[in-house]
């Protein structure tokens, strides 16, 4: 059971991260054909994250504090690393200061933390 929960946390982190990466990339470009694609991808990853969250307890309450801290840290590391790779490759207007705000927002919507 514990192992299963760990796997679900990994999937949750992966999909929330993917969703946030696309949200931030979406805000960095001004090509409508690309922004639409980023938006769709971010929604689809977030929907998958929702499904994984629904499989995890406690469902109606927030996660224990140590889980919250672990999930938040993992997402921030993953998103920042992916975005930094892109900044180094010449992506413009990527705002790294949005990462934490987006992580908090996603965790709130998914009832992981308050």
């Amino acid at each position: 059971m514990v192992q299963n929960r760990n796997k679900l946390i990994i999937l949750l982190v992966g999909n929330i991260s993917n969703s946030i990466i696309h949200i931030i990339l979406e805000q960095s470009v001004n090509k409508p054909e690309l922004t639409d694609k980023y938006r769709k991808e971010s929604i689809s990853s977030f929907e998958i994250a929702k499904k994984y969250r629904e499989k995890m307890n406690p469902l109606a309450e927030f996660f224990p504090q140590n889980d919250i801290e672990y999930i938040k840290k993992r997402i921030i590391i993953k998103v920042t690393a992916e975005l930094r790779r892109r900044i180094a490759s010449g992506y413009k207007n990527i705002n790294l200061s949005l990462v934490e705000r987006e992580v908090n927002r996603a965790m709130k919507i998914l009832k992981i933390s308050s």
Partner: protein, 272 residues
């Protein structure tokens, strides 16, 4: 409705058609339409075929064609105008192991996709996935996006599609698509065979596109079998992969592609 087939006979002043006295309906004094039988046969044949265009489809079950014709008629009845309707995806593979029907509607008109989806689903009982695009967007996508190329490598359309397009690599679009294949690295154990196939398929279509090779189902499957040393593509679809060996190659390929794409984005931005 009563229908009688009869021959026109030559008369002295007027020609006539003799029909049996003993018949159901078509009473004396009633007005009737006289129509050429050969013309009507032609008409019925053309309705049956509905002038569909088949691309890279060798064989398909007739029942699916009936379903597609139903779909086309629902769309035609609910839209003022459209440029083309294209059916694509797993429904075109032989057998009935498809999850949904992918429909691309080319139109400049704004479409209420959800309403149309509901109508098609209530008529056919099959889940549909509708993508609405302008013809210009499709043409652009076909030239720049491996997903469009693989999607339209096998399709049925209402009108003819002209595929002569010049390939142009847009690295930011490829970067976006490549990210879709990333979950394999952390969710191998939880993914089904079909999901693994889709992520790998996406990765391979980007590889072929970058190598300026043809992107279609056959070439993608061939490359997956070759690179991952599989006996058959069903090994993957049936989730019979050796995790360690597979992930090693997958991660390696992902990294290679990611490096090429990001390097070219970097070079592109320097040039600007």
């Amino acid at each position: 409705m009563e229908e009688i087939i009869a021959r026109i006979s030559r008369g002295s002043k007027m020609d006539q058609i003799y029909i049996p006295k003993n018949r159901m309906g078509l009473e004396n004094g009633e007005f009737v339409i006289i129509k050429s039988l050969s013309e009507q046969i032609k008409e019925k044949k053309s309705i049956g075929k509905a002038n569909l265009y088949f691309y890279r489809i060798k064989k398909i079950e007739p029942i699916k064609i009936k379903i597609f014709n139903e779909i086309f008629s629902v769309i035609e009845n609910n839209m003022n105008s459209y440029d083309n309707i294209i059916i694509t995806g797993s429904v075109l593979e032989m057998g009935f192991r498809f999850n949904d029907i992918d429909i691309i509607i080319l139109s400049e008109e704004k479409i209420k996709e959800n309403i149309l989806k509901e109508k098609i689903e209530s008529k056919t009982g099959i889940i549909t996935h509708i993508i609405c695009l302008s013809e210009k967007a499709l043409r652009r996508g076909l030239g720049t996006d491996p997903l469009y190329q693989s999607m339209l490598s096998k399709c049925i359309s209402k009108k003819r599609i002209i595929f002569k397009l010049k390939r142009k690599i847009e690295y930011k679009t490829l970067d976006l698509h490549l990210l879709k294949s990333e979950p394999m690295a952390y969710s191998f154990d939880i993914l089904s065979g079909e999901q693994k196939y889709h992520l790998t398929r996406n990765l391979m279509s980007i590889k072929l596109f970058l190598e300026n090779k043809k992107v279609n189902n056959e070439s993608i499957n061939r490359e997956i079998i070759r690179l991952f040393k599989l006996n058959d593509i069903n090994d993957m679809k049936n989730n019979l992969l050796e995790k360690k060996k597979f992930l090693l190659k997958y991660r390696d390929l992902y990294k290679q592609l990611s490096d090429i794409i990001l390097k070219n984005i970097k070079n592109g931005s320097k040039q600007k």
